[in-house]
């Protein structure tokens, strides 16, 4: 089955190397003879973790970050084998962020929009 991998194409992610990471993942997959589909999305807004790479799994999308092009091989191996990796972040939707600083009534707003942006492929 084709593995779906998500990489942001947001300007902020591209500025820290998202394009190079997407390219490197493609090369790493070709080298292993693995079929992957790279979907370029918006950013979830977790810029300190960009370039953040996600892979679709039965548990949900599992994220790694910040990934550089030099990490592409090891990250892809971790995705394929479901093995631990230093850049592993867990299920993307469950990454807590900025909650401590946010008033509780704003949390749903602040979480939903970036999650949508990160979830949808962009043309």
């Amino acid at each position: 089955m084709t593995m779906r991998i998500f990489v942001s194409r947001d300007a902020g992610a591209v500025a820290v190397g998202a394009d190079e990471v997407a390219l490197a993942l493609g090369l790493a997959a070709a080298k292993r003879g693995v079929e992957i589909e790279i979907v370029r999305t918006g950013s979830r807004g977790l810029y300190w973790l960009e370039p953040m790479v996600e892979v679709a799994t039965p548990k949900g999308r599992v994220a790694f970050g910040p990934v550089t092009e030099f990490d592409a091989n090891s990250v892809l191996d971790a995705m394929l084998s479901d093995q631990p990796h230093p850049l592993w972040l867990g299920v993307a939707d469950e990454i807590p962020w900025a909650e401590a600083a946010d008033p509780p009534d704003l949390r749903p707003l602040r979480r939903d929009r970036p999650a949508l942006a990160g979830g949808l492929p962009r043309p």
């Binding site: 300007a11 902020g12 591209v14 500025a15 820290v16 810029y47 960009e50």
Partner: protein
């Protein structure tokens, strides 16, 4: 994106102005088109735009000088913009700007003698979360450090 344009030619300028003067709100469109063609907005074009649009020279001059992306002189072949706004300053941008100035032998706002590189300050690229940031010929770069700024300067000098 290279910023080298054709040499200023009043007839060509008039042609560009005429091409856009029928539009609604044509001033910015014309200034952009002039800069696109010549690499800058020649001083001589300002009264021509004013006359074509039946506006005063002061009005066109006002619009032209308000937007710092409009140039009064041609830029170098490559334009390196360093963000000098607050977040980038707080993240070490001062040191990196000084480093770029020293490497190129020019100050922010200047162009190297060989017309290869224009170094400019810019006030916020919206990449505060990955500050300090820069833009080389329209390409955004975040998380600058000494190695990255050196690489950008070297790329601009090629």
């Amino acid at each position: 994106m290279m910023s080298v344009g054709e040499p200023w030619n009043p007839a060509r300028g008039a042609e560009i102005i005429a091409e856009h003067s029928h539009l609604e709100g044509p001033t910015l469109v014309i200034l952009h088109a002039l800069q696109e063609a010549f690499g800058y907005v020649p001083e001589a074009a300002i009264p021509m735009v004013a006359s074509a649009l039946n506006l005063s020279r002061a009005e066109i001059h006002g619009v032209f000088t308000f937007y710092h992306d409009f140039r009064r002189a041609p830029a170098g072949r490559h334009v390196l913009k360093l963000c000098r706004a607050e977040a980038c300053q707080a993240a070490g941008g001062d040191t990196l700007a000084a480093r770029a100035e020293a490497k190129l032998g020019i100050a922010l706002g200047d162009t190297t003698a060989d017309d290869l590189v224009t170094l400019e300050p810019i006030y916020c690229l919206g990449l505060c979360a990955t500050a300090p940031s820069a833009m080389l010929d329209g390409r955004l770069i975040g998380r600058l450090d000494e190695a990255r700024i050196d690489a950008l300067v070297a790329e601009a000098q090629r």
